[in-house]
């Protein structure tokens, strides 16, 4: 791929804090205009990676570009052109909604500050509440206001670090509608997330654990890359069956979708033997199917515990 088509392209990014390597030889290519999902358990290094890509942290090793600017030598230009929404709510709670927007507008030395802030307020539907303190907003509104602040200077690239953590499902859906609207306008979006239902909305996926990238590619290709074999089970008393499956050797993953059970394993032969045995009994309806994105993400997420301590065995 040509790096000119890439909003972000980094190679071998490495970051150590003290003696701990938190991000380890990380490569990533984010195509322009894409919604790129950045997945990984807590403490796996997502935030650190994003900070390095937008010039907030200096990597110990590696190189790359962000919007055509060198991440090592041109952080100032990157800051001018990127919208970065930090993991935590980062507006001033003791300033009003308008004051927050206005402050950010001044940080970017925007020419038509007043008009742009008014437009942003209108876009948010907060014109009437412009003089309300930001701290009094609900979680979902805070998230939307943060996003509006990041978008105020019209960046071509948005970096969103777990933007929907702790926000109710309705607000999350609205938030993603907004992200897709921005994407349709040509904004590239890199979004780190914990939620599977958000991951499936991305065009591309990268998965990181213990600072190392385990897998990345276009979202539809991910299940094949993982190589998960899946059987679908239907029948009476699915709860009992679920419990039994969790105990069965040869079944690596059990996922329940309503009254349907998906059992998966990377070892297809072993799983097929389990299936054959159960099908003989005939109580349940077993059907082999292609592993979908859902199973793939459950698989990725399930193998991942919090990464705050060193991996026990070889990383993975």
């Amino acid at each position: 791929m040509n790096t000119g088509d890439m909003a972000i392209s980094v190679r071998g990014l490495t970051k150590t804090f003290g003696s701990r390597t938190v991000v380890d030889h990380f490569d990533m290519d984010v195509p322009k205009g894409a919604i790129y999902g950045f997945l990984g358990p807590n403490g796996s290094g997502k935030t650190t990676t994003i900070r390095m890509m937008c010039g907030l942290l200096i990597p110990n090793g590696g190189s790359g570009q962000c919007l055509g600017y060198d991440i090592l030598t041109e952080p100032q230009s990157i800051k001018e052109n990127v919208g970065y929404m930090t993991q935590r709510f980062s507006l001033y709670e003791d300033l009003t909604i308008r004051e927050n927007l206005d402050f950010i507008a001044r940080m970017y030395r925007m020419k038509n500050r007043k008009t742009d802030v008014d437009d942003a307020l209108k876009g948010l539907g907060l014109t009437d509440r412009a003089n309300q303190l930001a701290g009094t907003l609900s979680g979902g509104w805070k998230q939307r206001l943060s996003l509006a602040c990041c978008m105020l200077h019209d960046p071509q690239l948005l970096l969103l670090d777990e933007p929907t953590a702790g926000v109710d499902p309705k607000a999350r859906r609205d938030f993603w509608d907004e992200i897709r609207r921005l994407s349709a306008k040509g904004v590239t979006v890199l979004v780190s997330t914990h939620y599977m239902d958000e991951a499936v909305q991305c065009d591309y996926i990268a998965y990181i654990a213990y600072g190392k990238k385990l897998i990345d590619g276009p979202a539809p290709d991910i299940p094949d890359m993982i190589g998960l074999n899946t059987w679908r089970i239907e029948g009476p008393n699915i709860t009992k069956m679920e419990a039994e499956m969790r105990r069965t050797a040869g079944v690596e993953q059990v996922a329940r979708f309503g009254s349907v059970l998906h059992v998966s394993s990377t070892d297809g032969a072993a799983l097929d033997r389990v299936a054959a045995e159960h099908r003989k009994k005939g109580t349940y309806h077993w059907q082999k199917q292609k592993g979908g994105l859902e199973e793939a993400f459950i698989y990725l997420m399930a193998t991942a515990t919090d990464n705050f301590t060193e991996p026990k065995e070889a990383a993975e």
Partner: protein, 376 residues
């Protein structure tokens, strides 16, 4: 590096708005100085010893030597040397290198023997009355005892006279010996230190703790614009506090201000900068606002105890004086007392300014070093 006044101004303005909305802190910044002034306005008594003393000796006889020996063994006085003129003695009192100057008049012993009741003059820097008080109280007894022990044998008659000699105490700078006069300038140093250090540290740490710092430095704003914008409002707070304080001191305690206002202004600004730098340094260490507050309080303790505010500096043991010398409040205290009570001008406080400048240099160096680390 291009400095943007737009961004600096925005940070400054934001800081003012936040300060105004934080009613409690705002009230404290004005209320605390007055409250403390009232509380500390009451005397704090102590009985300091080993105060630096100079002697102007115009008589060398055994009675004179006995008097000096008696003063020495009383432990109140610590003889540092001889002065030969009154000007030398006055200068030592003004710049604080001596707390007392003892003047033994010419022909002292002869006049005692002749029963002429000569006068010993004890000049004292009474701007710190708790330091001078006890020693002044003790002087008559000490000299009296010394003379009586020396005048034995044929001269016994002279000692048994009603008043073989007299001691005149000459209190300079604070003739009434009022403690509040001395406490008040010192208290200004403590209050400024308390608010400047703590508020700066907390204001910066608050930004990190609430997570707004990361979003802030992700914008094109430069670290220098952030720091300057955050610190400037508190310089103004320091000005307001000082003004309120000086007015309260003037009207409530009638503390004089006889020195050069310009000298005070220069020293005061330097002191504010030192404290802001210290607050800045603390903010690079503290992980939370609570920690910032605690560390600030921790630095405040030596300022209160070892700066000469609570206990007279000259009366402290050597190790405490060494620590005290490294504290900015110590020098600001001396400077303020000299200017307000003793009428000093810029030249008289140059040594204090110099000391503060060195302390500031050290703090700023360490703070900048740490600041670079935390950005990464």
């Amino acid at each position: 590096m291009s400095f943007s006044f737009t961004r600096f101004g925005a940070v400054l303005f934001k800081e003012f708005v936040q300060m105004r909305r934080d009613r409690i802190t705002f009230g404290m910044m004005i209320g605390v100085p007055i409250m403390q002034l009232l509380l500390f306005g009451f005397a704090i008594n102590s009985d300091p010893k080993h105060l630096p003393t100079l002697v102007e000796m115009a008589d060398q006889g055994p009675v004179t030597r006995a008097v000096l020996m008696g003063m020495k063994t009383s432990a109140y006085f610590n003889f540092q040397g001889i002065v030969t003129s009154q000007e030398d003695g006055d200068r030592a009192l003004r710049d604080g290198s001596a707390s007392f100057v003892v003047v033994i008049p010419p022909g002292f012993e002869r006049d005692v023997v002749r029963g002429l009741a000569p006068e010993i003059l004890l000049s004292t820097d009474a701007s710190d009355p708790s330091a001078a008080g006890a020693a002044v109280g003790a002087i008559s007894g000490i000299v009296d005892k010394a003379v009586r022990q020396t005048l034995t044998g044929p001269l016994h008659y002279a000692a048994s006279a009603a008043d073989p000699f007299s001691v005149t105490v000459h209190k300079q700078y604070n003739p009434e010996g009022r403690t509040s006069t001395n406490i008040v300038p010192g208290l200004l140093g403590i209050i400024l230190s308390m608010t400047m250090v703590m508020i700066t540290a907390v204001a910066i740490v608050r930004e990190t703790e609430r997570g707004t710092m990361e979003a802030l430095i992700a914008t094109p704003v430069r670290p220098f614009e952030v720091m300057l914008g955050k610190i400037m409002p508190y310089v103004l707070v320091g000005y307001v506090q000082t003004l309120v304080f000086l007015m309260a001191a003037h009207f409530l305690f009638e503390v004089p201000f006889i020195g050069s206002p310009f000298a005070f202004f220069a020293g005061f600004n330097l002191y504010i900068v030192v404290n802001l730098a210290l607050g800045f340094l603390i903010s690079t260490v503290a992980k939370s606002q609570m920690q910032a507050m605690q560390i600030s309080f921790f630095t405040l303790l030596p300022s209160i105890l070892l700066s000469g505010f609570m206990f007279p500096f000259a009366g402290m043991p050597g190790w405490a004086q060494t620590i005290g010398t490294a504290i900015p409040a110590t020098h600001f205290l001396r400077l303020t007392r000299k200017v307000m009570l003793k009428g000093a001008d810029l030249a008289d406080i140059s040594s204090d300014m110099f000391a503060m400048a060195i302390i500031m240099l050290v703090i700023v160096t360490v703070a900048l070093k740490r600041y670079r680390q935390t950005l990464d």
